[in-house]
Point group: C3
Chain length 145, copies 3
């Protein structure tokens, strides 16, 4: 089936890779519809959808997708909690980005039910950029029941 809905690449083992381009240093991006398209294209009715970020300065969370102020508050709170500038040794100047990833995590798993991501009513999947702008990948594996 053509991946008309997304720009995802698929390798022979069934993994799909979604390409993103971020535009700010700290930026949460709603990728729910892209992930749902991959589930639909895979034709999976029931199972688990594993979402994995193969980077060390970006992660993935599930949180509210309705009010954009929630996302903005989250970005600011993470930047306050782990400041960009600080008493860090790592020479690249992005230790805070690595630490933020350690806190939010690099993967999420969502159930698939009746061909749809089993998200709660207000939930969305957010790619978390912590050292942008960059080109990024998200890897998705769908395990059918």
């Amino acid at each position: 089936m053509a991946s008309s809905g997304t720009n995802a690449r698929r390798d022979p083992s069934g993994l799909a890779t979604l390409a993103l381009r971020t535009s700010r240093r700290t930026e949460l991006i709603n990728i729910t519809s892209e992930i749902q398209t991959l589930v639909t294209e895979a034709g999976c009715s029931s199972g688990v959808c594993h979402i994995y970020v193969p980077h060390t300065t970006a992660g993935v969370i599930i949180n509210e997708g309705y009010d954009p102020d929630v996302v903005r508050d989250m970005e600011l709170a993470l930047d306050r909690l782990i400041p960009h500038k600080g008493d860090y040794r790592h020479a690249e100047g992005n230790s805070d980005s690595h630490i933020k990833v350690a806190l939010v995590g690099t993967s999420q798993s969502v159930f698939i039910e009746h061909g749809r991501l089993g998200l709660g009513r207000w939930q969305a999947i957010f790619f978390c950029e912590f050292d942008g702008p960059r080109k990024r990948d998200v890897r998705v594996k769908i395990v059918a029941d």
Copy 2:
């Protein structure tokens, strides 16, 4: 089989939904025995138990279930780390709840061994309420080997 041990609903695809009622704004609730009952009722001997919270102001962790002071220290530390009142835009007044969920996470996976949750000796599964009191759901999917 009757779900006599829990108040869980099951849908035809095998997912179980556990209903909870929380009583405080920030409250960690030990749900280990309810999850174990679901594993037992499913008759699964070996596999993975996925626990998923479909809310955006509640999460789930695995931590010490023996001394209630650990849980209380954790509740207070999270409230200190991400204060309820602050420089937030989101009009509902619960931005801190969303941020706490981003930190602790919305799902956990535990191995099933010989029909039991493969928790460590001191580990328990805690539902994490960050915007209670409320009625809440926890969704559980058991994938047998």
Copy 3:
């Protein structure tokens, strides 16, 4: 097959347990090669590798494995974020350790592709000791496609 590459024990259900010895109170230890050895020994070409820490004062993350300064910055940042000494009730003096685990998490899942852990170029798997030095276990379950 002999577990010559690791000191892992295996139980009949296919779970492997990796034994570690930590040397500092807060210490991130790269366990990628030990986990890869378990994947290789299992002969799994494609699937999911679940890594689970059965302790309440230790966790596991995926982060940069190249520059040791990143790990050191992360250890210091977590100790600053959740101080060892504070207004805690738990009598054992390690409430901070429990709280750190709540933030970083007790499990990770990594795809297996062509017999290898599907980590990103700079990613490594780190056991996170937060109350060492101690003897610790890491449990690994490999689910083939």
